[in-house]
């Protein structure tokens, strides 16, 4: 996909620190969880940007910041040139129409006391001018049809649907206001394997039908590769590598990306004894107290003195075509078979 001139979503130096406080009456800030710490990215119309990383790397906080559900500590999120973090009131409400979300867990993200019609139609209650009152029921039925549910089931409750069908309800709700951007936060990880493919196909069909742009957050690397045009790898609140899917999966240059890819079990037993593995030691450090310099250095096999002193910038380095945040970025032949 060649990038069109104007990105629909521009994120610049986005930072979110959650304060850590001590004391009950007089709260004193003793530190901060650096959940998102300087993230910049662009998203174009009709494009899918995959975001991968382990739990605690800031993927979901990033999603909330893009939706303006959290106020960032600093940085900007521009949707069609307008900064959503500085917008308030009626204007913010209008901007939110353009960016919607599909949640991870279809069991807890749907209100069990509301019918499917009410759930999918709720966006129209909030944004009353989108569809006139008389036409809402018909519009909801159209949406159910679009996501592959029976429009006659409009009066049913979420518990009457299976997991995959519930996720379709969540997707219909996300589509209701005809957004241009949808943020999918682990949309298939709670589903059974045989259902995941159905939902993935639905998301791809909707994307080409409505020219949607997706931010696709997931930890399953093969799922991300299938749907994404570009992929961002996050570690402890920072993007460590960003590139087109083939760059990331076949020519990764950041050691963390390489370790992540080689840790994914390949669903093919042939040659499993010969497969090379980079097994990282330990767990990711706490985002409350990240290591100095490069955040990955405590688990990295390439770490040297410079890694503790200088934060590696996310930039294109010699011998590679895509940005990587490592002082010693280079292609490793042992990985890249996914």
């Amino acid at each position: 996909m060649t990038a069109p001139a104007e990105p629909i979503l521009e994120v610049r130096d986005l930072v979110k620190h959650f304060p850590l406080t001590q004391g009950i009456v007089v709260k004193r800030q003793v530190g901060a969880i650096k959940a998102v710490d300087g993230v910049s990215l662009d998203l174009h119309r009709g494009e899918t940007l995959g975001v991968v990383g382990e739990s605690g790397c800031g993927k979901s906080t990033l999603a909330k910041l893009l939706m303006a559900l959290e106020q960032p500590t600093s940085g900007s999120v521009r949707i069609k040139g307008k900064d959503i973090t500085k917008t308030r009131g009626a204007e913010l409400k209008r901007m939110r129409r353009n960016i919607q979300m599909v949640m991870q867990d279809p069991y807890t993200s749907l209100n069990p006391r509301m019918t499917v019609g009410d759930i999918v139609g709720e966006p129209f209650e909030i944004h009353k001018d989108v569809v006139p009152k008389g036409g809402r029921r018909r519009k909801v039925q159209e949406l159910l049809d679009v996501v592959g549910l029976n429009p006659d089931h409009i009066n049913r409750y979420p518990h009457q649907f299976s997991g995959g069908q519930r996720q379709r309800i969540g997707i219909a709700r996300g589509l209701a206001l005809q957004p241009e951007i949808i943020i999918c936060d682990e949309p298939v990880s709670a589903l059974d394997v045989s259902i995941q493919a159905q939902v993935m196909n639905l998301l791809e069909r909707l994307q080409s039908e409505f020219n949607l742009a997706y931010i696709f957050i997931a930890h399953d690397l093969s799922v991300v590769r299938h749907i994404s045009d570009r992929v961002a790898v996050m570690y402890l609140g920072k993007i460590v590598e960003l590139g087109r899917d083939a760059d990331i999966y076949e020519r990764p240059t950041h050691p963390y990306t390489q370790a992540l890819l080689s840790a994914v079990p390949v669903p093919n037993p042939e040659g499993r004894e010969q497969r090379e593995r980079i097994i990282l030691q330990g767990d990711p450090p706490s985002p409350a107290n990240p290591p100095s310099g490069c955040r990955f250095r405590t688990r990295c096999w390439k770490a040297q003195d410079i890694c503790a002193e200088q934060v590696p910038l996310l930039q294109i380095r010699e011998g590679s075509s895509h940005p990587s945040a490592c002082h010693f970025a280079e292609v490793n032949d042992a990985v890249g078979t996914h």
Binding site: E54, S194, M200, S222, A263, V264, N268, P269, I279
Partner: protein, 343 residues
């Protein structure tokens, strides 16, 4: 090793495998009706062997494991038929005090969610040491020493200093290591791991799977790995049992199943994995949804979703047909499936 096992005629007389699950049936009697969770499951595991039980939620894979361990909630659960033979003796016929000896020493289990499987109000060392106090009558200080050794063995850094820490002070991967330490404490012959890495990140998953493989090699344990992850299975399994709707629909050595599946369900699962060469194309998806255990389809449970369905699939339950040697497929048309998947 355990007294009960030296009873006359119980050791190795059948010539069978170390653990044999034979035509097991389990159902749950609920207010909404009878849920048939396990409908005639048969599998065997030998020392040093890894059996992967692959299936979706509700396929009966965990209920089978809980029945083997004897930790099924009864009621509402009820074992309505079958045998579970460990070293030739039927566990289901043993009195509880004898089963208790086998649990931990003969067969032990690692659970999916270590945070809810560990007791939050006791230090982890105390919980590991409990195995030695209860089963071996060890003193508190001896038991604690052994707990530290075990924590070292599962590579918890600084085991000595962390033995008095509580479960919430550990990360997910470390908690799973503690679960594994408890499970291998008494050198069991069979280890059942129920989705041991599902709750973990991939880099930690790789560590835990590596640890399990190493422990298995060292002590020649039989391992039953319950999972829904086709990647993990391909990595470690010797043989696979694919479950659907409480039955085994296909069992096969790992290479055979991945190369050439003989049941439409296993074939569909393998085809729905995203592949690099098919990027941009629609993924193959098995249509429909998994069966409702309260209202199972007649005949073959997979028939509403199956592309090979014919009239007799709706009426006749397919037996586990022998495909070759140790392979079986519960499909009337397995020959067609295997021919299609070979081409």
């Amino acid at each position: 090793m355990v007294e009960v096992l030296s009873e006359p005629g119980s050791r190795g007389t059948t010539g069978g495998a170390l653990l044999e699950v034979d035509n097991l049936h389990v159902e749950f009697r609920t207010r909404a009706g009878v849920a048939k969770a396990v409908n005639g499951v048969t599998y065997t595991v030998d020392a040093g062997e890894t059996l992967a039980v692959l299936g979706e939620s509700g396929s009966g894979k965990s209920v089978t494991a809980q029945t083997i361990m004897g930790i099924l909630d009864m009621p509402p659960g009820k074992i309505t038929g079958g045998e579970i033979r460990f070293r030739g003796s039927d566990l289901l016929k043993l009195p509880e005090d004898q089963r208790r000896k086998i649990r931990g020493e003969g067969i032990s289990m690692v659970f999916q969610d270590a945070l809810s499987a560990l007791n939050p109000v006791f230090p982890v060392g105390w919980q590991i040491a409990e195995m030695f106090r209860m089963h071996r009558g060890a003193s508190r200080s001896d038991a604690k020493k052994k707990a530290v050794e075990l924590m070292d063995r599962v590579r918890i850094p600084g085991a000595k200093d962390r033995v008095n820490d509580f479960p919430h002070q550990f990360s997910g991967g470390m908690r799973q290591r503690i679960m594994i330490a408890m499970a291998i404490a008494l050198d069991p012959e069979i280890l059942i791991a129920d989705e041991p890495t599902t709750a973990l990140d991939v880099t930690v998953q790789a560590q835990i799977m590596g640890l399990l493989a190493e422990l298995q090699r060292d002590s020649n344990m039989g391992l039953i790995l319950i999972t829904h992850d086709l990647g993990v299975v391909a990595d470690v399994a010797d043989k696979i049992a694919v479950m659907y709707g409480g039955r085994i629909v296909e069992n096969a050595p790992v290479h055979d199943l991945y190369r050439n599946p003989a049941h439409p369900y296993s074939k569909g699962l393998l085809e729905s994995i995203p592949r690099v060469d098919l990027k941009g194309q629609e993924l193959y998806a098995i249509k429909g949804t998994p069966p409702n255990l309260l209202d199972m389809p007649t005949g073959c449970a997979f028939h509403p979703r199956c592309p090979y369905k014919r009239d007799n699939c709706v009426t006749d339950v397919p037996p586990l047909n022998t495909v070759s040697g140790t392979r079986g497929s519960a499909c009337h048309y397995w020959r067609e499936v295997i021919d299609d998947s070979a081409s």
